[in-house]
Amino acid sequence: MVLETGLSIAIQVLVWGLILGCIYVLLASGLNLIFGVMKLVNFAHGEFIVLGGYVSYWVVTLLNLNPYVAMLISMMVMGVFGVVIERTCFRRVLGTSKLNEILLSVGLIYILQNSMALLFTDYPRGIHSPYEKSIISLGILNLSLDWIIAIGVTVGILIGFYLLLNKTALGRAMRATSQNRKAAMLMGINVENIDMLTFGIGIALAAAAGTLLIIITSITPYAGSLPALKAFAIIILGGLGSPAGAVIGGLVYGIVEGAAVYLVGGTWRDAVGFIILILVLIVRPTGLFGEREK
């Protein structure tokens, strides 16, 4: 009896860790894409996450739509927003100096955070999913339907992302740009357009993560910073530029964090992830799947 309960709890913790993992994988994949193609560290990623969450919040509240439909809408809206931000802000600064890029990102953090606080107040917002109360029972397991859907939706998005990157001409152009920008230009690729699209896609993924966040918990305008920071840690953990690293790193991190909350309590949750990161980097400085790059 005790064993059964123990197993049931373990699986619930595992699934919860997977949900966290889903959020982290979406974030890490987006950041990885932006870094890979544009060589840009987007410090404002966290703010785009919560903005994506807020867009979903308003779509659900005002239009009464299903939260997961709202997620798709948010991804599209934020994708376009990302393209606009890249075109108006980052394009002028890309390639000039790392300091310029960093300062621009940091500036965006404050502009976005304060705009959201002004427009939405810092009262925590959450979305109530219509599946909130539905529990799926599999023998001894009791899993929230939301959790299953969240994992399913994430898998769907990641499959789409993978197909785009590996099976389309555009994806090939993005990969080429990330590997050799000069050669990509010589092959007729308009790398500035690729930058815009890449940033848009990265932000769309952040919006998906933000929507998951607002469904499973609540957000304030400042709630994006910590997940973004962790996502950075994850792409370093998984190896900069490695898509597989972003996925596996994100899942491992999510599960470790989920387990840490259960085993050692909430105050340690953020520390545990970073401790794992430090340990991995000591053993394998280029990350789990990293390349020895210049």
Binding site: A169, R172, R175, A176, N180, A183, G188
Partner: protein, 236 residues
Amino acid sequence: MKIVLHVEKLTSNYECVQVLWDVSFDVNEKEIVAIIGPNGAGKSTVVKTITGLCPPSGGEITFNGDRIDRMSPYKIARKGISLIPETRDIFPRMTVMDNLLLGTYVNKDVDLNSFGEWIFQLFPVLKTKSKKMARTLSGGEQQMLAIGRSLMSRPKMLILDEPSLGLSPIMVEKILDTITEINEKGMTILLVEQNVQEALEIAHRAYVLEEGRITRAGSGKELMKDERIKEVYLGM
């Protein structure tokens, strides 16, 4: 003969040092034109300027009647100029096949089957290694991949920057034979080379670039017989 590339009085600066002085030359349709000269003469600068990687400080470059100086590299590529750089610049973490397919980004109407077959005929090793990561290829194979990739875009003119660099003599022969074969199929080629002997053997016409200036011009055969060239470059 129809002039494909017309370069007039090109000047170029590299970090405040003038590298090219009033460089003028033409490439006609279906010709192989070589620019030869010693290291540091400015040959690569000429190539970078034509392909848009480096803006000229003066002069004009016209391609099939259109002014291309100061155009972005991707626009110049779309006009039909394809460069095989000195450093090959293949995409290391993509397969040989993906590298070749990338050549079609500029020109999506390419019939992959028939055209691809020709490229595999020219370079059989690319077919054998088509699923391998490009970075696992040897220097000579990467050179072949770079040429194949450029050919896939069905360019109107190929520019090869030092194709013999770093290759064994046998490989150099093979590559230059292939260049001749491609030219015989109708391709206009601009060849920039340090290996004067090999370049003059296959070029219809050549220009000698020394310290940023064109010092001599003539047919490949004429220049091979030229006393000064024989002495300075051919070790005779």
